[in-house]
Amino acid sequence: MRPRASRLRLLLASFAAMLLGGGPALAHSGSGSGGFVGGFLHPVFGPDHVVAMVAVGLWGAFLGPPAIWLLPIVFPLVMAGGGVMGILGMPLPGVEIGIAVSAIVLGLMVALAARPPLWVAAVLVGAFAIFHGHAHGGELPPGTDAVAFSVGFVVATGLLHLAGIGFGLLARWPAGRVTVRVAGGAIALAGLAFLSSVG
C-alpha cells in the first residue's frame, strides 16, 4: 500500500505543480457558444472554478453525512444567487480574489482535516459560491438556448462536486485519508497561484 500511496502523492504533487505553472485565473473564460454543451464546458475550462468545486466535494466527503450531500445542494442554490447578482450588474468587489481564496480556504480545510459545525461549513461554502456565481452570471447567452446553457453549467458544476466526493471517499481508508488531505493541500497551493496571478 505504501508505494501506491507514494505514487498517488507524487501524482498529486505533479498536478499541483502543473496548476502552479499555469496561466492566470480564468474561472470565466467564456466559451461563447450557447446550448447545453456550451454551458457544460464553461466551468470545466476554468481551472480555478474546477479546483474549488472539487474541493467542495472533497470536503463534503471528508466531513461525511450530512455534509456530503448538503454542501453540494447549498452551493448551486447560493451560486445561482451570485449569478443573479452578476446578471443584474450588481457590483461585487474582489470577485477574482474571492474565487482564488475559495480554493485556498477549501483546500486548507481538507488538508487540515478541519471539522467545523455543519452550519459553519455551509455558510463558508455558500459565501464562496456567491463569487463563483457572480463571475459566471454575466456570461449566460441570450435567446432560446439560455435554459439549456444554464442547465449545462449547473450540471457541470454538480459533476465536479461529485468528482470531489468520489475522490474524497478514499478517506475511509488510512492511506486514502492521507491522499485526500494531500489533494486538499494541492488545491490550496493552486489557489495561491491563482491569487498571485490576480494580484
Binding site: A80, G83, V84, A146, S150
Partner: protein
C-alpha cells in the same frame, strides 16, 4: 413528421418544458405515496385548460416565465426535501400545467392541424410527467435507496439554480413578463 407526433415530442424538445416536467415529477415523488395522483391530475387539468385557451386563440401570455418560476419553486422545495401540503402541490402542478400549455402555441396553418398538435402536446406532456413521477417514485420509495432521495434533492437544487439564472437573465434583458 406528423403534427400529432410533433406535439407529442414537444415536451422533450424544449429545454424549459423538459426542465419543468422533471421538476414536477421529482416534486410529486416526494409526496406521500397515496397522495401523488392528485397533483398529477391537477397538472392534466391545468394543461387541458391552457390548451383549450390556446384553441380559443388566447393572446400573448407570460407563460414561459411563469413555467420557469414554477420549475424554480419546485426545485427549491425538492432541495429542502419535505413534502408540500397536498393542495399546495396540486395548485402548483395545475398552475404549471396551464403555463406549460399556454407556452405551447402550435405552428400550424389550419385550425384542424393546430388542434392535432395541441392534442399531441397534451398527451405527450401528461405521459412524460407520469413517467418522470413514476420513475422518481420508484427510486425514492425503497427504504434502502437513501442515495436516491439525496440525488433527487441535489437534482432539485440544480433545477432551482438553472431556473433562477434564466429568469434573472430574462429580467436583465427586458424579456421578463
Amino acid at each position: 413528421m406528423s403534427g400529432f407526433v410533433r406535439g407529442l415530442l414537444q415536451p422533450l424538445v424544449l429545454p424549459a418544458h423538459a426542465l419543468a416536467l422533471l421538476a414536477l415529477g421529482l416534486l410529486i415523488s416526494q409526496q406521500h405515496a397515496h397522495l401523488r395522483l392528485l397533483p398529477l391530475a391537477a397538472f392534466v387539468a391545468g394543461l387541458v385548460g391552457g390548451l383549450t385557451a390556446i384553441a380559443l386563440a388566447v393572446g400573448q401570455t407570460p407563460a414561459a416565465d411563469v413555467l420557469l418560476a414554477a420549475s424554480g419553486l419546485a426545485g427549491i422545495v425538492i432541495a429542502i426535501g419535505r413534502p408540500l401540503p397536498t393542495l399546495v402541490c396540486a395548485f402548483l402542478a395545475a398552475f404549471a400545467g396551464a403555463a406549460f400549455a399556454l407556452d405551447s402555441p402550435p405552428e400550424a396553418i389550419s385550425i384542424a392541424a393546430g388542434t392535432i398538435i395541441l392534442i399531441g402536446t397534451g398527451l405527450g406532456a401528461s405521459v412524460a410527467l407520469a413517467l418522470a413521477a413514476a420513475g422518481a417514485s420508484y427510486l425514492v420509495d425503497a427504504q434502502e435507496r437513501v442515495w436516491a432521495r439525496i440525488g433527487v434533492r441535489v437534482l432539485g437544487s440544480w433545477i432551482a439554480a438553472s431556473a433562477m439564472l434564466v429568469l434573472a437573465l430574462r429580467y436583465a434583458r427586458g424579456q421578463l413578463l
